[in-house]
């Protein structure tokens, strides 16, 4: 990074700039010359007070986020859901592997807090297990699709020209294939596992992110600060990393949280169709599907808790996205 042989050497540059400082200071800042006069202090005051005290970006971001009460509630809920799914099984031990014909479809009781499933497994334990895969898929797809869509879209939009045209036609082509077709095909060819589900859903989900990012990049790349950066010799990847990507954060973060919610719902519908990972692995969508099968038998405990958890998780993620968009919008932050 450091090239000392560059003319002019910085060691010479600095004293020169310093000397110039002494010469300009009185003319550009009016106050110091007339120190001692009452008005001079009056003018000196706003010059300092106009500059607020800096605070760390993280603390500022946290403060802005907590100002959005809904988002804070969403975050608390999501943390609770994660604890429920991942930490819950450590305290609430159930056998989720073996099925038991004796304890089929039992209503909630002391030994089974939320009753049992059609296979006779404890329903609450099943919700915890299902929560793990559901949250993993949601976050995994959200992150994967957003990252790939961001890079793809930013590159396409920033470089432009033929590359842009080709890249965007690829997106258009992929968008025209119904994603359930993919899923059915893959389920027929292979034995679905969680990783495969994440990859397939991401492969579908990044397309709209890429389009969104590309459009935003088209407008960002004509901004004056991008021109300025090119003006002092930045390369394309430097401009994308330093100016384009940070300014895309707002849309990308919000879009990413929507992707998480979408992925959870999509996973639920895949599982509902019986195309998800086979039992004993489970997820909320599959539980919902089983619950609906027994809807007319009055086994409410198999339907409502799973449905409720999906709705609550998706809502929580969405309001968190709203709060995050406040955080990344630096101009809204107060000091």
């Amino acid at each position: 990074m450091t090239t000392h042989d560059d003319p002019p050497p910085p060691s010479q540059e600095l004293p020169a700039a310093g000397a110039a400082t002494v010469a300009t200071r009185p003319s550009s800042a009016p106050s110091p010359q007339r120190s001692g006069e009452r008005t001079a202090t009056a003018q000196g005051a706003p010059r300092d007070s106009e500059v607020a005290t800096p605070a760390s970006a993280w603390r500022l971001g946290f403060r802005t986020f907590t100002e959005n009460h809904l988002a804070t509630a969403g975050l608390v809920l999501l943390v609770l859901l994660v604890l429920f799914s991942f930490v819950g099984p450590l305290f609430y031990h159930t056998n989720q592997v073996a099925s038991s014909l004796i304890s089929q479809n039992l209503p909630p009781s002391g030994s089974h807090l939320l009753g049992t499933s059609p296979e006779g497994r404890d329903e609450l334990g099943r919700l915890m297990l299902g929560g793990q895969s559901t949250i993993e898929v949601g976050l995994g797809v959200g992150v994967l699709a957003t990252l790939f869509g961001l890079v793809y879209g930013a590159l396409s939009g920033f470089v432009g020209g033929i590359l842009d045209a080709v890249m965007m036609r690829v997106v258009d082509a992929l968008l025209s294939i119904p994603y359930l077709f993919f899923v059915v095909l893959l389920a027929a060819l292979t034995r679905p596992n969680l990783l495969l589900v994440i990859v397939v859903l991401s492969a579908v989900s990044w397309l709209s992110t890429a389009r969104l990012v590309r459009g935003e990049t088209l407008s960002l790349r004509t901004r004056d600060y991008v021109t300025a950066s090119q003006g002092f010799g930045s390369r394309a990847h430097q401009v994308i990393a330093r100016h384009i990507t940070p300014n895309l954060l707002g849309v990308v973060v919000v879009n990413g949280t929507l992707k998480v919610a979408d992925a959870i719902l999509a996973f639920a519908s895949i599982a509902y169709l019986g195309l998800g990972p086979p039992p004993p692995a489970t997820n909320w969508g599959e539980l919902l599907s089983a619950g609906i099968n027994n809807l007319f038998d009055g086994y409410w405990w198999q339907l409502w808790p799973a449905g409720l958890l999906i709705v609550v998780t998706v809502l929580a993620v969405n309001v968190i996205g709203d709060g995050l968009s406040d955080v990344v919008e630096i101009r809204l932050q107060k000091r």
Partner: protein, 729 residues
């Protein structure tokens, strides 16, 4: 006594922000009579637009009129319901806005938009509305209204759109027209036409007009009375002649002095107001202008009442200036740069003027010594930038296969040179190609043909890493201080970025450079940890200037560096640019539509018209002895803040609008708008001819007689700033 149309009494408008309530308009009273034009002037954020919106009751959701009355024809508008107010808007009061691009609906024909108020207020039939629409369009000077009535806004030029906007406002013949910066987005030549139109309409329809503007020149020429606002308060109100002849409030005085004048002594510093307008949520106690006022005294912690200083002349100040007749700001205009521009205050609590107004002129010598030495030094300096037969054309594609159907001739065969240490000003209307030319000089755009050389090398010949390394030699300064800084980077990172990109110095040295740059542009070192949005427009422009200087460039290309700033801030930046040029030996290419700014900043000025350089010469020559009728027209069109001058010129100096650059007129491109045009102008393109040392113009019928010995012809004009002319006095 004419009928009183509008009577605003003690109006107070508050905005409810997240945590505080701020009074954007605080105890403002004003009256307007029938057929009268009242000006409301002040810097951005002073509450002048909010006053207009309060009268219309069109405030944003967070704003409310909290006290006071707005009497329109004796009827108070404040307590009216929204439904009743709708009956008033457009019929009794109309408003026109600044930007004709956004204030017309792009999906409706202009005819439908003009007819809209007629249908709403009178329930006119289609036929009646159309007739009235045509009549109104004719009234606002739209040629062939019958053909134009079905056009959409994008088919019209900016000037025509503003005329349509005025037509929609006038269709229902309101008694009061509120014009909020009606010409700020337009070129000076078009501005003069629109202001003429407003004047004529006011007389014909005997309307009352409230003209809201930041431009003292517009105020001087067009208004009967003026009110000056500062931070939500009315600080001075008088008849226009009185206000300019005997300014009383220090703010109004300082505002007038900080406008660069065409008659300005370019070697003197511009007087400027230090600091910037206060944050309305954290107002200083007492007089709001006191922290920036050169006459402030301990008494100013009390709030000065708005009192009558002379008959009909209200002023809110404990230390009004110019109490002696004949002194005051108006006197300063007749003797530009002279120290008499700052009258002695009646009470001497702090008598030192804030900014020196420049060296006194000696024995009527028109050129102060340092200006003369500067000229001599420049004449000896080597040429840094050579622009040779530069052409830029953008293809226009159309038809089924996106064939090339023509081209926009943005820059057509322009040649000039800039010497090291010189400031070259490029002036012209928007669309004349000056920004394109600037981008080509800054090596951001490749010319269609022709060359740009920097220090003898053609930068755009270079590729990749070589070009990127040479980019440090030329830097850019932008117009919009809000768009030119990355909102997500702290100021420190913004200023360090060029050094990081070019790999100059190590981390510690880079931060030292940043700190010294901040000192140099007059910002606190604590700025490094802040984001751009935490600064005012003027401060951001300082940051932009500092960033341009981080790499110690040889050439700075500044595209409209001050046109987005308030006048008081504008003069601070202009002074800073001059100081930095002296200290760093910078060469500037300054692009501006404002001839007065360029006249102050530049050594040499090039006038562009529709892609052509029509006149080129020393700044003094261009102003004092323009050879090209277009240059003359541009100078005439600039509003001067002096009522006697401004009211004397009664018609727009340049007619019509800029023709399309896709099919420029044959021969001389200016001929379609030129008062002197004859047949030869359409047939033959005028060559550049010499009119004195370094002064060339392309015109068949120049306003000066060309010097016989100089035949610049089509040759590249490189020697621009030559020795000072013997007869320059």
């Amino acid at each position: 006594m004419k009928q009183r149309i509008l009577d605003v009494e003690h109006l107070r408008t508050e905005f409810h922000l997240r945590s505080v309530n701020v009074a954007a308009v605080d105890d403002v009273s004003l009256t307007i009579d029938q057929g009268e034009c009242v000006g409301l002037v002040g810097e951005s954020g002073c509450g002048k637009s909010t006053t207009g919106l309060s009268i219309m009751r069109l405030l944003p959701r967070s704003g409310h009129v909290t006290s006071g009355r707005v009497l329109l024809d004796g009827r108070d508008l404040v307590p009216l319901s929204e439904a009743e107010m709708r009956q008033v808007r457009g019929r009794a009061v109309s408003m026109i806005f600044q930007d004709p691009m956004t204030s017309l609906n792009p999906t409706m024909t202009i005819g439908a938009q003009v007819a809209e108020p007629l249908v709403i207020h009178f329930g006119s039939s289609k036929k009646a509305a159309l007739d009235r629409t045509l009549e109104t369009l004719h009234l606002v000077g739209i040629p062939n209204p019958r053909e134009r009535v079905d056009d959409y806004p994008h088919q019209l030029s900016g000037g025509l759109r503003q005329r349509v906007m005025i037509a929609t406002a006038l269709a229902a013949e309101p008694k009061l027209l509120i014009a909020d910066e009606p010409t700020t987005a337009l070129d000076v030549t078009i501005q003069a036409q629109i202001l003429d139109l407003l004047d004529r309409l006011r007389e014909e329809l005997s309307m009352a007009v409230l003209l809201i503007t930041h431009d003292m020149g517009v105020i001087a020429g067009r208004t009967d009375r003026v009110m000056v606002m500062y931070a939500g308060k009315m600080v001075e109100a008088a008849t226009t002649d009185e206000l300019f002849a005997a300014t009383r409030h220090p703010y109004a005085e300082a505002l007038l002095q900080s406008i660069p004048q065409l008659t300005q002594d370019a070697s003197a510093r511009l007087p400027s107001i230090p600091g910037h307008p206060p944050d309305l949520s954290r107002l200083p106690p007492g007089c709001r202008f006191a922290p920036r006022c050169r006459y402030a005294s301990p008494a100013c912690v009390e709030e000065p009442p708005l009192e009558e200083a002379a008959a009909g002349h209200l002023v809110a100040c404990f230390h009004p200036v110019g109490v002696l007749p004949g002194s005051g700001a108006a006197a300063a205009w007749s003797a530009p740069g002279a120290p008499s521009g700052i009258p002695e205050p009646p009470l001497p609590p702090a008598t030192t003027p804030l900014e020196p107004s420049g060296a006194p002129s000696r024995d009527g010598d028109p050129m102060p010594p340092d200006a003369a030495t500067r000229r001599l030094a420049l004449a000896a300096a080597p040429v840094l930038v050579e622009v040779d037969h530069l052409v830029k054309e953008y293809p226009v594609r159309g038809g089924g296969m996106r064939r090339r159907v023509g081209s926009v001739k943005a820059v057509s065969d322009v040649s000039f040179g800039i010497r090291r240490g010189e400031t070259f000003g490029l002036v012209g209307e928007s669309g004349c190609g000056k920004s394109t030319l600037g981008r080509m000089v800054a090596a951001l755009e490749r010319p269609t043909s022709g060359t740009v050389r920097l220090g003898g090398d053609e930068l755009l010949r270079l590729r990749g890493a070589d070009l990127r390394r040479r980019r440090r030699e030329l830097q850019l300064m932008f117009q919009d201080p809000y768009a030119s800084l990355d909102p997500r980077m702290r100021v420190g990172s913004i200023l360090r970025e060029p050094l990081v990109v070019q790999g100059v110095g190590d981390r510690r040295q880079q931060w030292e450079t940043v700190a010294s740059l901040l000192d140099e542009v007059g910002l606190s070192r604590r700025a490094v940890d802040l984001y751009p949005h935490e600064f005012s427009g003027g401060q951001r422009q300082r940051i932009g200037l500092a960033r341009a200087l981080t790499l110690n460039p040889r050439l700075v290309v500044a595209d409209e560096p001050v046109s987005a700033l308030d006048v008081s801030i504008q003069s601070q930046i202009l002074n800073l640019m001059k100081a930095l040029q002296r200290n760093h030996g910078l060469t500037y290419l300054v692009i501006s539509h404002d001839l007065a700014v360029l006249r102050y900043l530049s050594d040499t000025i090039g006038v562009m018209y529709l892609g052509k350089m029509v006149e080129l010469g020393a700044a003094d020559d261009i102003y004092a002895r323009p050879a090209h009728p277009y240059t003359h027209g541009l100078i005439q069109a600039i509003p001067v803040p002096d009522p006697s001058i401004e009211k004397a010129k009664r018609s727009a100096a340049v007619r019509g609008e800029l023709p399309s650059a896709v099919n420029p007129p044959s021969g001389c491109r200016f001929r379609t708008r030129c008062p002197l045009a004859q047949e030869i102008c359409a047939e033959e393109e005028p060559p550049l001819r010499g009119f004195g040392p370094g002064h060339v113009a392309a015109c068949h019928f120049p306003l000066l007689s060309p010097s016989a010995d100089q035949q610049a012809g089509g040759a590249p004009v490189v020697s621009v700033t030559s020795e000072p002319a013997p007869g320059a006095s």
